[in-house]
Symmetry: C2
Subunit: 212 residues, 2 copies
């Protein structure tokens, strides 16, 4: 395809910025920019101001590394939560996903990534030391590893497991199995196999309790 | 679905802004905002600056109403183009699409919309008067109507046709027919019917000339 003809350098610059975002092509970028162009100046100011303020003012919770408006995030400073159970996740998005389930009363620890030699991410690039430190200080009963079911996730799980194994805590991982609403015949063999090995007591399946 | 739990008001504000753009849901907005959050502060400044500058500084060409960085756009000020042939389009995007074909040596006239009683857009909301004025001043040989093949497009075509009919110019519309690369059996009947009625000389089909 020939390069696009832009009637304005300002337009081209704005499109290039949008097209630099993940999953946004130049056609979508053009549509979004033309939409912004039709808005009031105040609306566009609010749009760009929100991005800039977020980038400049947002902080990371000193306890769990989740993003936060204050030094300690709202979850870590909530005394009603179970501070003895830590759920280890890859990123902020995972915290939000788990919070949306309303099934987890504990606190989080955000690694800020996953061990991935392919992407050049080693254990030293992640918030693992602060997790070990937190556990070593005592008061923690369980660490739940809630990472992706990928090679990188498994590697990271195992690395953390070895670091925490010496402490008197329970280390668990989230259940792998057939998704709720899925039909058995469409589940892949590994998932189905795991769901049989890690079966739960039938009674537990509706009381939301673990089988063991 | 329960409302999302955002760990930060700044994050929530930025997500809401992105989610206000057409075709962007809250999940995509979150992904885009987290991407911006990982960039350098200078990159985010450039991003929001580009939007703001575009909105504040962009102008519309006084001749054709296309967006432009100067009073007269680069197309209208290009002396190598055929200023006697005006292609009437709905919006800026259409100008870019036609420019990308590299098949049109003339100039444009951007209506800024299409007659649509459903959306409350009447002829008075569009740049039609300035087109009539341009034609009435003379020097125009042909006006090509390049609007969408919809009821609104046809209505607008007809309205403009009646306004320009008294002047000694050719008024044409872009060809409707089976798209290049399409198989006949998948073309709808109306398109196929039009493509037979408005057939072109075989010779013309490879010399890019009109049949009449």
């Amino acid at each position: 395809m020939s390069p696009d003809h832009y009637p304005s350098k300002l337009l081209e610059a704005a499109i290039s910025e949008f097209a630099g975002l993940p999953g946004i092509g130049r056609k979508t970028a053009l549509r979004l920019v033309l939409h912004l162009l039709k808005q009031n100046e105040a609306d566009v100011e609010r749009f760009s101001g929100a991005m800039l303020r977020l980038r400049k003012e947002v902080r990371h919770c000193v306890v769990c590394h989740n993003i936060s408006d204050s030094e300690v995030c709202t979850i870590c400073s909530d005394q009603k939560r179970d501070h003895g159970t830590i759920c280890v996740v890859e990123n902020i998005r995972d915290v939000m996903s788990i919070e949306n389930t309303r099934q987890f009363p504990g606190v989080y620890h955000v690694l800020g990534g996953i061990i991935s030699p392919m992407d050049g991410t080693g254990p030293g690039d992640l918030n693992i030391e602060s997790l070990v430190e937190k556990v070593s200080e005592g008061g923690i009963e369980e660490v739940i590893l809630a990472l992706s079911t990928t090679m990188e996730g498994d590697t990271t799980n195992f690395y953390i497991y070895r670091k925490l194994n010496e402490y008197p805590i329970t280390i668990s991982t989230i259940a792998r199995g057939v998704a709720v609403g899925d039909e058995l015949e469409y589940a892949d063999e590994i998932t189905l196999g795991r769901s049989i090995v890690n079966r739960t007591l039938f009674e537990a399946s509706f009381t939301n309790k673990k089988a063991y």
